[in-house]
Symmetry: C2
Subunit: 116 residues, 2 copies
DNA sequence: ATTGTCGGTCATATTTTTCTGACTTATTGT
DNA sequence: ACAATAAGTCAGAAAAATATGACCGACAAT
């Protein structure tokens, strides 16, 4: 089995591993969809919710997120057997990161406006 | 077929631009070196401080960081004419992000240990 | 028994990012 | 004058990330 959940840490920074996960394509999008969805979501729903995405990349992204405990995967052995994903407590913690990042982009935009 | 789960597609992430900068190779390393250096640093010093890096990639990284106001570039017209790079106020703000990210990785490591 | 859906995997292609090595311009030291 | 250093740029090569399309196993419905 090929291990696609290992990304090389080039800078020896403690936060680098999570940063690499966050910067994987579709991960912020998955995060956002899950956050606003507010309930467990299924693979096919994510696929539909993220136009332009594809199974393979979503699969890689979800495995990465899961292996870093940012989301939880649950096999629901019920009526229609299916699989649910949701944001973990650790993942919820990341909302602060997104918040800070968007604050920075707001600061930068204000500076651009002031410069004109 | 019954699509009762309404998923709002907020694909436009406000923090994405900065996230892309942060996830550029060598950017976290540059950040780290600058942070611990505590004084303006020069291109050639960064190159030495980041083994495995190269001029081209550092140049790209620095331009990205500068264009997003994370660092400041200054041409020093003195004795030996040279160029200095500094973390900006905005850049300093990012330290919180790294802090949060490293906290998450600490949480994950503790979970791994607990699982053994 | 066949068809269809869900949640994927696999091999391969394409795209994007990063690296290498040659070259440049300006200044400084001998 | 000549070589050396600093701070890069440029084109092309190599590596890494992402996408495509075929396929698969479990289950459900016709």
């Amino acid at each position: 089995m090929t291990d696609n959940t290992t990304i090389i840490n080039h800078n020896n920074c403690p936060g680098q591993d999570i940063l690499n996960v966050l910067s994987t394509k579709w991960v912020p999008g998955i995060f956002k969809v899950m956050h606003f969805n507010n309930e467990p979501i299924r693979f096919s729903e994510l696929l539909k919710a993220l136009p332009g995405s594809n199974k393979q990349s979503l699969s890689v992204a979800l495995h990465l997120m899961e292996s870093h405990s940012l989301i939880e995967k649950r096999v629901v052995r019920e009526k229609p057997l299916h699989i649910e994903y949701n944001i973990s407590d650790t993942g919820t913690y990341l909302l602060d990161v997104f918040k800070t990042l968007s604050e920075i982009s707001t600061i930068n935009k204000q500076k651009e406006i002031a410069a004109v």
